[in-house]
């Protein structure tokens, strides 16, 4: 599993406040984690970052 920063949103001209989680066993399984909404996945991501990790840059 890896985390990746999303692309710049060229439709709304903003950087999405979100992170993308990509499953290792199937990179096509993509989870969009909204960082301005509550979820267990968001908590897991923030804990991962707190451990000193950083997400991959946007494509």
């Amino acid at each position: 599993m890896t985390y990746k920063t999303p692309q710049f949103d060229d439709l709304n001209n903003v950087q999405p406040n979100a992170i993308i989680k990509i499953e290792s066993e199937n990179p096509k399984i993509i989870t969009w984690i909204f960082l301005d909404r509550e979820s267990q996945e968001k908590e897991d991501y923030l804990a991962w970052v707190a451990e000193g990790n950083t997400p991959d840059p946007a494509d």
Binding site: P6, Q7, L11, A18, I20, K28, I30, F34, Q40, E41
Partner: protein, 457 residues
């Protein structure tokens, strides 16, 4: 100086009235008028007041061999029937030991009440506040999942599992029933087809820490429990009932938490139930009088009520008063409460969970699959086996969009899909509580399968 006349009969002038004095008493024939008439022992065979009134009749037992009547409105018949045509006023009426009618209502603890309707409407329906109480909906899948220390919805919808603390040990959680890998294990004769099953996988001795607890729980929105009036002086009693079966007998912990009172505090109700016979389905009933302080619940879509079945807690939790509302969030369990994970291969099943207003547990409210699934989809949606093709957004980009079958509780915190694209890049996701929407740049031939949206509490 006392004097006496000894005769055996006195006749009136007309000869109608006769007083006969026998050695054992007095017999009076004809009409007799007396200011006070007493019969302290023996039997009065006929007592008639045709024109006058018997103002006071004092007796230990009044026996009417035939029918006793009060005017034309009340008749007491010897076969036990009572006929009353006027208004009957009573403080309390009891029928056997099962039915009590009092000014506060009718309480029937026996078989129940058979009626055609209530207030001219349907007798039942929408009593159970628990969603998926019969454990039938499992959108995420039906295979057994190992419960770890990450709180998660792992098997059936609306029921979450978690291991809190660092006590060790773990267990599987699974759905039993048709379409799963485990044959249905449900109480007989209750109409259930599914249950949840916990099976201890890695054992661990009961720790002492109060932070350790093995959890199986469900949660309700605040706006769905405001009618309980909890937090106010009008708080209603509610009853939790469920069917449970365990390989380990004994006392198990259970607690209820109320969130969202206007006063800001969270209130906890620590209680328990007992599994009396191993590997036998038993129905448990817990009636809770709602908290009367803290302020009314604010009607929002946030967490309002949590009901948790403890499969184990640290031994230091085995203290404190049970069955009362408190703001203390330190778990309280009874002395000797079962710690399931210390028993290799131990199992615990549950189904038929119902939480309803009132002090009686009524029969489980079986709802249709369509209704139950829709209730679940407010919190989680999964389009298993369904492919949604994207539409061309412009000459190089596309948008995959799917309207959700049910408006979700809130805009989902996560949106997952298997996204197919030839050369494009999965860009911004615009999903809300109403729809799934994925923008893909650099490709107009895209699709998404296994879309998953979560707006869980």
């Amino acid at each position: 100086m006392a004097s006496e006349i000894r005769v055996d009969k006195i006749n009136s002038l007309s000869g109608v009235g006769t007083v006969t004095l026998s050695p054992t008493g007095v017999d009076i024939s004809g009409i007799t008028t007396a200011a006070t008439l007493k019969a302290t022992t023996g039997i009065v065979t006929t007592l008639t007041a045709t024109t006058g009134i018997v103002t006071t009749l004092t007796t230990n037992t009044l026996t009417a061999n035939s029918t006793a009547k009060v005017g034309s409105g009340v008749t007491l018949s010897p076969d036990g029937d009572v006929f009353v045509t006027g208004v009957t006023t009573s403080t309390t009426v009891k029928v056997g030991g099962g039915v009590t009618i009092s000014e506060s209502g009718i309480e029937a603890s026996g078989i129940g009440i058979t009626v055609a309707n209530i207030n001219g409407g349907a007798v039942s329906g929408r009593r159970n506040m628990i969603i998926n109480g019969d454990q039938r909906v499992a959108q995420r899948g039906t295979t057994a999942v190992l419960v770890t220390d990450a709180a998660s919805y792992r098997h059936v919808d609306r029921f979450k599992t978690d291991l809190d603390g660092s006590g060790g040990g773990n267990w599987f959680i699974a759905q039993t029933g048709a379409g799963t890998s485990i044959a249905a294990d449900v109480p007989t004769g209750q109409g259930f087809a599914f249950s949840s099953k916990a099976t201890v996988n890695a054992t661990v001795s009961q720790p002492t820490s109060t932070s350790v607890h093995h959890q199986f729980y469900t949660m309700l929105e605040r706006q769905d429990i405001t009618h309980l009036e909890w937090g106010t002086s009008a708080a209603k009693a509610c009853t939790l009932s469920f069917w449970v079966k365990g390989s380990i007998t004994g006392t198990y912990g259970l607690w209820i938490a109320l969130y969202g009172s206007s006063g800001g505090s969270t209130y906890y109700y620590w209680t328990n139930y007992t599994i009396d016979s191993a590997n036998t389905w038993e129905k448990k009933v817990i009636t809770v009088t709602g908290p009367t302080s803290g302020g009314a619940i604010t009607a929002t879509n946030d967490l309002g009520l949590r009901i948790e079945w403890l499969l184990g807690a640290g031994s230091d939790c085995e203290t404190g008063t049970l069955n009362e509302w408190t703001t203390s969030n330190t778990i309280r369990t009874a002395s000797g409460t079962v710690f399931l994970p210390e028993n290799a291969g131990a199992t615990w099943y549950i189904t038929g969970i119902q939480f309803e207003v009132g002090s009686q547990a009524t029969a489980f409210e079986h709802r249709s699959m369509a209704e139950e699934l829709a209730l679940c989809q407010r919190y989680y949606f999964q389009s298993s086996g369904y492919t949604k093709y994207g539409a061309m957004y412009n000459n190089s980009h596309s948008m995959i969009s799917l309207d959700l079958p049910v408006t979700m509780r809130t805009d989902p915190g996560t949106s997952t899909a298997t996204v197919g694209t030839n050369s494009g890049t999965v860009s911004t996701n615009y999903s809300t509580r109403h729809y799934y929407q994925q923008y893909v740049t650099g490709d107009v031939s895209t699709f998404a399968t296994d879309i998953k949206m979560s707006a869980e509490l």
